[in-house]
């Protein structure tokens, strides 16, 4: 998600010289390949085969190396650590059952927080260290920056599990790039639907978000959809702040002065928590009906907010790409077992990045096994793509269908209400009273987006 440099990147060296902070512009090279490939839709069931007892013939004997890249250090380092832990769980599960067609899975990784070397490190993992498949990417900017390298140079599948910009999948057909995590647009559309349903008499909406592609796109989508649903609604001038801002006090008072009924915030990670606490202490929540944040469903953010700061008398809504308590554990055992394994390994409830990265590895496994069942050999990257297209894979969040047209994984979208976790037996605040939006209702058709491509 991050589009800018590590927060602790030092901006100045030299006596008395004031360094102007220049945000790193993501290099945009949206090499939209217009070549229409054969879009053979392969419809499959979610599980294939039993355990691989005997190793099938024609399979490479060396382990299958899968390279992943997330923010592993710095202020956003939790994301990568938690995603990596989930990948390790998937790897161990797969290897304990004999690997993929007898090939053991081996994980290698590079730190996305090494901002200057994102492309180099991806190339290195493939060309020098032998990664055959790539998983990961937190930053939307990085995901866009990598398109050219992946599609034209490396030509190996990249399964994105976090970066959420619609531009990655909805602004042009990718060949090797897939995204298994729900992207931002449907979550923002669902937010607008939620407001229209729950607060039909809301008159004014204020907003705050990070000042880069994600924050802008998120507000564009939410406000565009809300305007369609509630033509009379008024919007305060949106506020955008530098990622990593820690003093929101002046902004909060500015918001209160605008007298909104609804506040929409796309701040995320530590920023979302810092803003939230300051907003609580400055009484923002006393003045509004509802607060919505599409990134609030991240357990690390909820942990940072803490039960002490959960206000009463106002609806706080959060969403994300996966919520560890949904689908309910008593009806969906895969989610239950994943959450239990994750807790045993890390001591934490899995944040959404863990759910999506875990699913990505199983998508790879299932597509390879499907390909083998039909082709009788280990698939080439191009062959593997054909089996990822249209695949349905069961993840902790339920079945994820990878649309063949745009390579985007789709599943339900949720919004849940913030509640103190303590009384419910959780160590941090949680989302309850989940509103589930069927993806058929909130996910636009492939290549249709409110965001301006190009």
């Amino acid at each position: 998600m991050v589009d800018e440099s590590k927060r602790n990147t030092l901006k100045v060296l030299g006596a008395g010289v004031v360094g102007l902070v220049v945000g790193l512009a993501g290099g945009y090279a949206i090499g939209a390949s217009s070549k229409k490939g054969a879009t053979k839709t392969v419809t499959v069931t979610k599980e294939v085969g039993g355990g691989a007892a005997a190793k099938p013939s024609g399979i490479p004997s060396k382990p299958l190396k899968i390279g992943f890249m997330y923010f592993m250090s710095g202020p956003f380092g939790t994301y990568g650590k938690m995603a990596g832990a989930a990948l390790e769980i998937a790897r161990d599960e797969i290897n304990s059952r004999g690997g993929i067609l007898g090939r053991k899975v081996e994980l290698i990784s590079k730190d996305e927080a090494d901002r200057q070397h994102v492309i180099d490190n991806i190339v290195k993992m493939v060309q020098e260290e032998g990664a055959e498949i790539l998983i990961g990417i937190d930053s939307s900017g990085d995901s866009l920056k990598l398109i050219k390298t992946i599609e034209e140079e490396l030509r190996v599948p990249l399964i994105v599990t976090h970066a959420a910009t619609p531009k990655l999948t909805e602004c042009g057909k990718r060949k090797y790039i897939f995204r298994i995590s729900m992207y931002e647009e449907p979550i923002d559309i669902a937010a607008a639907e939620l407001v229209a349903k729950m607060y039909p008499d809301a008159k004014k909406v204020a907003s705050i978000g990070p000042d880069y592609a994600y924050g802008w796109d998120s507000w564009t989508v939410f406000s565009s959809r809300l305007k369609e649903l509630m033509p009379g609604v008024e919007f305060a001038e949106p506020i955008y702040v530098k990622l990593g801002t820690t003093d929101y006090t002046s902004y909060i008072d500015k918001m209160i002065a605008a007298k909104p009924d609804i506040v929409f915030s796309s701040l995320w990670g530590g920023d979302a928590a810092t803003f939230f606490k300051q907003a609580a202490s400055k009484g923002l929540f006393k003045n509004i009906k509802a607060y919505l944040n599409p990134m609030l469903g991240a357990t690390d953010t909820l942990k940072a907010i803490g039960d002490e700061n959960v206000p009463s008398g106002v609806d706080i809504w959060g969403s994300g790409r996966y919520w560890f308590n949904y689908p309910p554990h008593d009806v969906y055992s895969l989610n239950k077992s994943f959450v239990e394994k994750f807790k045993a390994k890390t001591g934490e409830y899995p944040p959404y990045v863990s759910g999506t990265s875990y699913t990505a590895l199983y998508a790879v496994k299932n597509a390879i096994e499907l390909a083998y069942a039909e082709l009788g050999k280990w698939p080439s990257p191009e062959e593997l793509i054909k089996y990822l297209e249209g695949l349905t894979v069961a993840g902790p969040m339920g079945p994820v269908y990878i649309r063949p047209e745009d390579h985007q994984g789709v599943y339900y979208v949720y919004w849940g209400k913030l509640a103190k976790g303590g009384p419910l037996g959780f160590p941090h605040p949680v989302l309850t009273d989940l509103e589930i939006f069927d993806f058929g209702k909130v996910v636009p058709p492939p290549f249709k987006t409110y965001v301006k491509c190009g």
Binding site: G244, T245, T249, Y251, D253, G270, A273, K282, G306
Partner: protein, 294 residues
Amino acid sequence: MDTGYIVVQTINTLFYASILFLIASGLSLIYGIMRVLNLAHGAFYMLGAYLAYSAAMVWIGPSALGFVLGFVLAVAVLAVIGAVFERTLLRPLYSKPEELQLLFTFAVMLMLDDIVKMVWGPEYKSYTVIPGGSVEVGAYQVPLYTVYVIVIGFAAAAGLWWFFSKTVIGKQMRAAAFNSEVAEALGINTSILFIAAFAIGSALSGLAGAAAAPILTAYPGMGADALVLSFAVLVIGGMGSIAGSLVGALIASVARTIMVIVYPMLEVALIYLITAVMLLIKPSGLFGKEIERR
């Protein structure tokens, strides 16, 4: 724009100014007396924030005692670190070219960032609650803690003014700053004075960190952010002047609040615009004296 809005935005501005003043005055004091631009100063501020956080949230727990001890600990530990740093690591560099001091203090800053990550981890460390409760001002609410920090900031400014103009040690420091050789010839022990100056300057950064942490959270890299803003404050106000730090911090904070209200996307741009203009028309800053190069 109602009265309540003006009141709360004024308090926000003064809070921000107080933090900036505490950081910048320490940096300025050390530079003014010893001509050392300590780039690790921002990292000292960060250490202050982490120490206060640990005292108030981990070691003692969130209570009045925890918060107060957090302040005391941050100030005391940073004073000691400053003194030891000056005496053992920095002093051998005084005879060397200035660039070496810059590189060295910059390296220390990078190392402290990594040490903080090793000890406290890479995540934001934020207080479960902002201490002190809040009062209502019309439709707005003011956390009382911000008012306390404003009082601390202005008290520190008054205390520094008193120290340098009324106490013997303060006067000796000014003498040593003016001409250390003559001061020594007059029997002033400049070695001790330099250690003391560095300790006071570093303690101010610790105080700034402790004051900032409950609202602004503690995180690796917060020192670099603060250092850049401190430079702006010092360029505006003038190096080596406590009054300059105070006025510079106030100007920077007012500029920031105005931009937040008028055009938030350029939140800090006006600060640097003022800084750039100042460098063009009066490079020594509002209160700075032209410095001869020795």
